[in-house]
């Protein structure tokens, strides 16, 4: 990985959401790299291939076929190679129980998928600008606007 290159991994079975995410990311910086996986199992397979090129951050949907986001998160957090990669749970649901589970299982935070493109872009701007610094603090500023749920909040 070259210095300063930022790699995202989005795990989402919804191709429209993947496209929106990708477009938003490219509109910030076209040099950003974005890996995509359609379910948890695909994500784990992809990571196994990219051991020398691991993503800086993982956005993980919850309801997916084959392997759900929860199962994937558990696998990520028990694997020494991946457990330090920050995981942002990224789902339509804003159920309190999901947010609690996310934190229990070691996700950085829970983020409800924004309902407009501009907000997706804003979210990714914040994430990308804090990616090598304090991501936790970075998104924390965004908390109120974003309906994210953070560790310790």
């Amino acid at each position: 990985m070259s210095q300063g290159q930022k790699i995202f991994l989005l795990v989402d079975d919804d191709d429209e959401d993947r496209n929106l995410f990708y477009e938003a990311l490219q509109s910030i910086d076209s040099k950003f790299i974005c890996f995509m996986a359609e379910d948890g199992q695909q994500a784990l397979n992809l990571l196994a291939e990219k051991t020398h090129n691991l993503p800086n951050v993982i956005f993980l949907d919850i309801n997916m076929p084959v392997m759900s986001g929860w199962e994937c998160l558990k696998s990520l957090k028990t694997e020494p190679l991946y457990k330090n990669i920050p995981v942002i749970m990224y789902s339509t649901s804003s159920h309190k129980r999901d947010m609690e589970i996310a934190i229990e299982l070691g996700a950085l935070c829970f983020c409800v998928k924004p309902e407009n493109f501009k907000k997706i872009t804003q979210l990714l701007e914040v994430v990308s600008s804090h990616i090598s610094g304090n991501l936790h603090e970075g998104i924390k500023q965004f908390n109120k606007e974003y309906n994210c749920h953070f560790k310790g909040l």
Binding site: D15, M64, H95, N116
Partner: protein
């Protein structure tokens, strides 16, 4: 002098007799069984309740051994408690089930004379009715709890799945507004339309699912061959599109709610057509299962296909509302189809199970009581 003493004795005797009669009257009027056994388990006192129960005169019963009086109760809880009481142990309000299946609440009380035990008083009350009521109440409570849990889970899933298409409607509407370019607008508007359609389908499916709760449905004799014909007609388009072949043996008639059974057939056959890559081949057969233990006849209906199948570890999950093993992109669906089938089958006091092999096909087995 002698006459005075005699008179006094007579008076005392008469008083004692009255007291005795009074005690006996109380003993004979009570709903409880009140009996006394000596230390050798011989009956030394019995009240009318037990006499009636045993259907014999008092004279035939007094002096008889427990084993002779209650041969079916040897070594049951009553017998064991009585033997403990003979060794001096006082047991209060013990509940046990007698050989006649009734429940009794019984106390075993050692009796003493000059600090030496000579007998055991046994007071026993039939509490079958209240025990059964309590059991029924418990069962109802459990069912209520289950219904509640189901509802909670349902509401949770519903809130998630209904929000997803809505969110996209918002996202793409916003894009139309922001970009305001004609060509792109059309694409986005199409996406809005398809999301709206999906939302509509979801709501319809949810309504279907909740309607199955209705208890006031009419049961009647349904010819499953006709049900199948109707479903085939409804599915004509997908059948032709995918060149599906449906083979069925002669199916029986069952007692059921017609529109629900039709819905179950529709969902199962519809799934077999949908979840297939090549030409679907669906076999529908049935057989009777005689359960000699329960002496009730059951009918098993089998839907077998050559579709994409699924990993057997999901064979329970597939019946959970909104649980999907496939993405929307590959196979359209709302995840309610099989949940609805299960609910319908269980509403008919039946069961459904699934077997499958990835890439080979699936088989769904419905078992229904055969009762008309």
């Amino acid at each position: 002098m002698a006459t005075a003493l005699e008179k006094e004795l007579e008076a005392t005797n008469s008083k004692l007799k009255k007291q005795n009669e009074f005690t006996e009257k109380i003993l004979d009027s009570t709903v409880d069984h009140i009996n006394v056994f000596d230390l050798n388990l011989n009956l030394i006192s019995i009240n009318r309740k037990t006499q009636t129960f045993l259907g014999k005169a008092k004279s035939e019963l007094i002096g008889k051994h427990f084993d002779e009086l209650f041969p079916t109760a040897i070594n049951n809880e009553y017998h064991i408690h009585l033997k403990s009481a003979i060794k001096g142990k006082k047991l209060m309000n013990e509940i046990y089930q007698s050989p006649n299946k009734n429940y009794y609440e019984t106390s075993f009380i050692p009796l003493y004379e000059d600090e030496k035990q000579y007998a055991v008083l046994v007071i026993s009350r039939d509490v079958t009715e209240s025990i059964i009521k309590e059991k029924e109440l418990n069962e109802k409570n459990i069912k209520l709890q289950q219904a509640n849990d189901e509802l909670e889970q349902f509401a949770y899933l519903l809130s998630h799945d209904l929000q997803e298409p809505l969110r996209k409607i918002q996202t793409f509407s916003n894009l139309v507004i922001e970009k305001n370019e004609l060509a792109e607008s059309k694409t986005y508007l199409e996406k809005i339309d398809s999301s709206a359609k999906r939302m509509k389908k979801l709501i319809q499916d949810v309504l279907d699912y909740s309607k199955v709760n209705n208890k006031n449905e009419i049961y009647k004799i349904i010819d499953l061959n006709l049900v199948l014909e109707n479903v085939k007609a409804d599915l004509e388009l997908p059948i032709n599109k995918k060149c599906a072949v449906i083979i069925s043996a002669l199916l029986p008639k069952i007692n059921g709610i017609e529109y629900q059974i039709t819905q179950a057939f529709y969902n199962l056959i519809g799934n077999s057509i949908k979840y297939s890559t090549n030409e679907p081949r669906i076999e529908i057969s049935s057989r009777f299962i005689d359960d000699t233990v329960l002496t009730d006849k059951k009918i098993e209906i089998i839907f077998k296909d050559n579709g994409i199948g699924f990993d057997e570890k999901y064979k329970e999950d597939i019946f959970t509302p909104f649980k999907r093993l496939q993405s929307n992109k590959d196979y359209e669906g709302t995840g309610i189809g099989l949940a609805l089938v299960k609910k319908i089958v269980e509403g008919h006091r039946g069961t459904i199970t699934a077997e499958s092999k990835l890439g080979v096909g699936s088989a769904f087995k419905i078992t229904l009581p055969f009762n008309y």
